[in-house]
Symmetry: C2
Subunit: 164 residues, 2 copies
């Protein structure tokens, strides 16, 4: 089972290394992780996605709570939540001298409510957001046109309604 | 100066902790970081944003290169690039029984080309993507309506054109 763990921390040098170290010390792979400042810039929110066993996750969460710069730890997968991520995909358009090919790419962009965020004579950069499945589907549709570099943010999530 | 560092790594337990540890060992604060699998799932791309001095960054990049699971290191800030991030903002709508208030919120959503990704009787979750300035501007516009939790992915970026 996938767990989405949200950790609010004070901005201190080394906190990310310590949080991620708690997982790797147990051989737990962190599938994705994001960290960025929120609010007053004194705090950052880490969102990490990991697979694995309930009881071991519980143990890790307890240890996270004990780290000094950690303010709050929530396992968002335990209740209703909204998870989204962003992907940038570079698509080659050298073949796109052919207008049909460009049109096909733009159709895919429209279907996935994606957007073109950069264009050069030889490439487009496409931004798409959504859940994991949508991102993979969009990437699979673009692959025949020649995909270059790809970068994903990994998932961020918030609990639905007033739940924290 | 802000540096956007893109690091392609093999998916090994502990790699994130080692990469982030290289920065914290020098007292360098990582402003934001994202890591997620790309391609064949054997590799992940880390994008991190950090401030600081050119020569020290150069040193850190050299040491990153030497880490075994690191395949490629690029300082994207050294050339033209496209950087984007995603933010989820929970807005209270308890006052939103008043239709005018809901309309005002939806106007802000439209102005920033944001989208509502969840709604309950007491809250909305709004997704907005763009650069740092746009995200802050959108958040500032929503604050008077009562902002709850906020989560950001941190920036991801790709080089423009055929540059890697």
């Amino acid at each position: 089972m996938k767990h989405i763990i949200s950790v609010l921390v004070e901005n201190e040098s080394g906190v990310l290394s310590r949080v991620s170290g708690l997982f790797s010390a147990r051989g737990f792979n962190i599938e994705s992780l994001t960290v960025a400042p929120v609010g007053d810039k004194q705090t950052s929110r880490i969102t990490l996605v990991t697979g694995g066993d309930g009881p071991i996750i519980e143990q890790i969460l307890k240890q996270l709570h004990k780290l000094i710069p950690v303010i709050q730890v929530v396992n968002l997968s335990e209740g209703p939540h909204v998870g989204r991520e962003l992907m940038l995909i570079k698509v080659s358009t050298e073949r796109g001298q052919d207008k049909n090919v460009r049109d096909e790419i733009m159709d895919i962009v429209a279907i996935f409510r994606a957007q073109v965020v950069d264009a050069t004579p030889t490439s487009l950069i496409i931004e798409v957001t959504g859940d994991n499945d949508k991102l993979h589907a969009c990437l699979a549709m673009l692959e025949p046109y020649g995909v270059g570099e790809v970068v994903r943010t990994g998932q961020v999530a918030l609990a639905r309604g007033n739940r924290k």
